[in-house]
């Protein structure tokens, strides 16, 4: 048995998703398991979607017009929220969950993520790489999907790194653990593209053999201008060649320029990595000149300095709660950024940029209460409704309102408390994470893993040639090297410090 297959097998047992819903009354479930799931190496079956689910007696943080409701019920029908309120009746056959003493929130949404990407997230070669697409390299078997579900996350904006002024096309996903890559995509999310300003696109923080233009913030602006002008010229030449009687040769098709035209036409929205106020004002200027739309500045650590300018243009900010000082352009970052932005009317979210932080975005939101005194329900929206709006899925997710997707979390306590944890995470009315089931299966999984390792060791004795030929045969405790790629990693070779 090769190491790879061994690890895959062991992992498959360890990360089995929750078993199907345990119903009180008859479960009304779709027994059919999507056959495509078999194509996914080590995922578990997609959980059932009961015809109706009633969560009873909880404190419900709707993140919507109903606010926070005590002793309330949440009714789900066929994967959509049907009603939120007191004393809802359970439809016949509904899965009923007694949630007395528990808290329920909308599923958390991470507006800046790099999980579930197969290989590097940076196409670091060129200053503009608008043709590359995250959707082409989604890795639905990434264990981080399950781990983040376990922290109450239900959706993520998967972005490229920040090596390019105009980077690749993003993918907004739901964390449907077990689904094949194409089924992770969040239907109806606005197409987006990653931009990046400042130190990363100008290659400040790592050694590169061949430096490229630009090396300054001045150059970053002009690199964007140059490429937009190229895109317009490309369109003009194509139109000219297509006009009746023209003998002009049409330009060679370019996926890069086509993507830039989508941006210029407003069909693809910009998520721009930026830290400093100056560079954000620069891109605001370009967006006015070229008419493209910035959905959100990503990181935006100095957004508090230009909150009014952002609010006036309806540009969002997707920021860290409290990161700072890891490089020079984040020296002026302050943890009160979120509070100032909310106060001045900017649609603001707190993101992770990290497979670790994404597992506790609820307590990241709590930092807006700590720094600047944001009201608790508004703080929670930093990781629910606000990122949903920024990603163009505000009509589908981010709050518990009738008609929206049944993406929600059951917490064992106050959702902004450091002592609370997610007990169940539901997406589309399916229970993708259940802590109780996860705990119940652990000893069984550990035993299976030991058995597999023993078997592998036995084979190794029989055939000492085999394992020795593989790359890294010896140590089952060796960390998986593919785990937790650094946020916005730089182009090779790697630096000593990896900075977002």
């Amino acid at each position: 048995m090769t190491r790879d297959s061994l690890v895959a097998l062991a992992a498959c047992f360890a990360l089995g998703a929750a078993p199907s819903a345990t119903a009180q009354g008859d479960p009304v479930a779709d027994p059919a398991v999507d056959p495509k799931v078999d194509a996914v190496a080590w995922a578990s079956p997609i959980p059932d979607q009961p015809a109706a689910v009633l969560v009873r007696g909880a404190t419900i943080w709707t993140s919507g017009p109903q606010g926070r409701l005590e002793q309330a019920d949440l009714l789900v029908r066929s994967g959509k929220i049907a009603a939120v309120g007191p004393d809802l009746a359970a439809p016949p056959g509904a899965v009923v969950i007694d949630a007395a003493g528990k808290h329920v929130t909308a599923g958390l949404i991470d507006a800046h993520s790099h999980i579930a990407v197969d290989g590097s997230v940076n196409e670091g070669t060129d200053i503009v790489t608008a043709e590359v697409r995250i959707a082409d390299v989604l890795d639905s078997g990434d264990a981080d999907i399950y781990r983040e579900l376990a922290g109450g996350l239900t959706a993520a904006n998967v972005l490229h790194g920040s090596a390019n002024a105009i980077g690749g096309q993003n993918a907004v996903i739901k964390l449907r653990w077990g689904a094949p890559p194409e089924d992770l995509l969040f239907e109806g999310a606005r197409p987006g593209v990653k931009f990046a300003l400042g130190e990363n696109p100008k290659q400040s923080n790592w050694q590169v053999q061949d430096r490229r233009y630009p090396q300054t913030r001045m150059g970053v602006e002009q690199a964007i201008v140059d490429h937009f002008e190229d895109a317009y010229a490309y369109r003009r030449n194509r139109q000219q060649a297509a006009s009746p009687g023209s003998s002009a040769i049409p330009p060679r098709p370019s996926l890069r320029l086509e993507a830039l035209l989508e941006i210029l036409d407003g069909d693809r929205r910009v998520h721009s990595h930026a830290y400093r106020a100056d560079e954000m004002l620069m891109l605001l200027g370009l967006s006015e000149r070229y008419g493209f739309t910035i959905d959100a500045f990503q990181h935006a650590l100095e957004a508090y300095k230009i909150a009014d300018e952002l609010a006036a243009r309806g540009v969002g900010a997707s920021t860290f709660s409290d990161w700072w000082a890891y490089k020079f352009e984040v020296v002026d970052a302050i943890p009160h950024n979120g509070a100032i932005l909310l106060e001045r009317g900017v649609v603001t979210s707190f993101n992770s940029d990290s497979g670790e932080l994404a597992r506790r975005l609820n307590t990241e939101a709590a930092k807006a209460v700590r720094y600047g005194g944001v009201e608790e329900e508004e703080a929670l929206k930093l990781v629910t409704l606000n990122p949903a709006i920024q990603l163009g899925v505000g009509d589908r997710a981010g709050s518990l309102e009738p008609g929206k997707d049944a993406d929600f979390v059951i917490w064992n306590g106050h959702p902004l408390s450091t002592y609370s944890l997610a007990e169940q995470t539901w997406i589309d009315g399916r229970r993708y994470f259940d802590r109780e089931a996860d705990l119940a299966r652990r000893s069984e999984l550990a035993a299976e893993r030991e058995a597999l390792l023993a078997e592998a060791a036995g084979e190794a004795e029989e055939d000492p040639q085999g394992p020795k030929e593989s790359d890294d045969p010896q140590d089952p405790d060796a960390p998986d090297e593919s785990q937790d790629p650094a946020p916005d990693p730089p182009p090779s070779p790697a630096p000593t410090e990896v900075t977002p």
Binding site: A14, K305, A366, K367, L445, D477, P479
Partner: protein, 453 residues
Amino acid sequence: MTRTRAFTAPGRPFVAPALAGAVAVLSFAGLAAPPAARAETLAFVGGTVHPVSGPPLAGATLLVEGERIAAVGSGVVVPEGARVIDVAGKHLYPGFLHPQTDLGLVEVSSVRGTVDTTEIGQVNPNLRAEVAFNADSFRLPPAAAGGVVAAHVVPRGGVLSGTSAVMRLQGWNWRDMTIAAPVGMHLWWPRASRAGWWDRTTPEELEKRRKEELEVLDETLERARAYGRALAAAAAQPARGPAPDPRLDALQPVLAGEVPLFVHADTLPQIEAALDWLAEKGFERAVLVAGYDVARAAERVAAAGVPVILDTVHRVPSRAWEPYDSAYTAAARLHEAGVRFAIAAGGAGADSENARNLPFEAATAAAFGLPREIALEAITLRSAEILGVGDRLGSLEPGKEASFFVADGDPLEIRTAIESVWIAGREVDRSEDRQWRLYRRYAERPLPAAEGE
């Protein structure tokens, strides 16, 4: 140009520099005299005191004289002339002691000129962390505002990286901020796994490097022992001693058991090898600084009686087969096995600039099974005891440093406000916190006039 200084007396509001300048010009037209150190007596009355060394005391008084705690309790008589601070409805806790950080050694991580964490070379036992501690680092005030009053500052690099120090986070220079040094000698256990996703070292090269580092370690300690014998021989009879060697000199207190050895071992194979080595070499004073794998060796660590600094609760499991909460539950598993441990923070967003997030890593350990009072102890009293400063820090008891904070609730909750922080009897001045100043400035920015461009 007149030089002016704006001194802020403890508890007094910040005086704007312009105003302070004007005052100084009017009164002296020159240098303002520095304030003499004075031993103020402070009485915090009416709050709930959480000594950590014992149960909470409601309605108790905390009496501070100069830098030290004079008395704690409900029957404490407030002396004449004491400044009385009413903390009714509030909670007093000992300040946090971060047990493993590079605070003060680094300013901006990516700017090399501001980084003094990591020396070149494998054997640097003679390096001393405290001498590179930047007393005016802009990382200190935000940490202090978060209740972190002291930090164990540790040098990195190579196999033996030098000695660490416990530093106070407020003061005039590193000398008056040093609470204890040397606290420990730092040994970074050789690893046989790659450093990260970018590392392309082959398994053969890794194994070769691991063996070489172990040889360097054993050989260095052997040389240090021989050097020590030569020194002793030279002292006993006036013969010529060995040529002075600062590196080998620095190891003598470790060999004599006067300075503990802090062994940094992240993964299980490293931890097990380090425990074997410690037993073999007979080091009795050792501390294990370990990742969450240490919980898998908890029984053994407990039996060996080695205290642990659990380095980072907020970690993603490094192997796909592990339970998702492996790092979150490590502290609880150590506790159940009877291991004495402190908790260090180093998760995403908790490098030393965010040392203020230390209590929230302890809280996560509590969410995943560690009793809450142990979580608090793991960043206060136990941290102090493991670092050998349990007589100075970590609890609110008479004779200890008056380094504590006033909060409106449980400080392991993010939503709790820490209202004032006192380090060695002096209130931390919020205006020294650059982040706070930027916040105040931009929170009050007037709405811009209609824009042109």
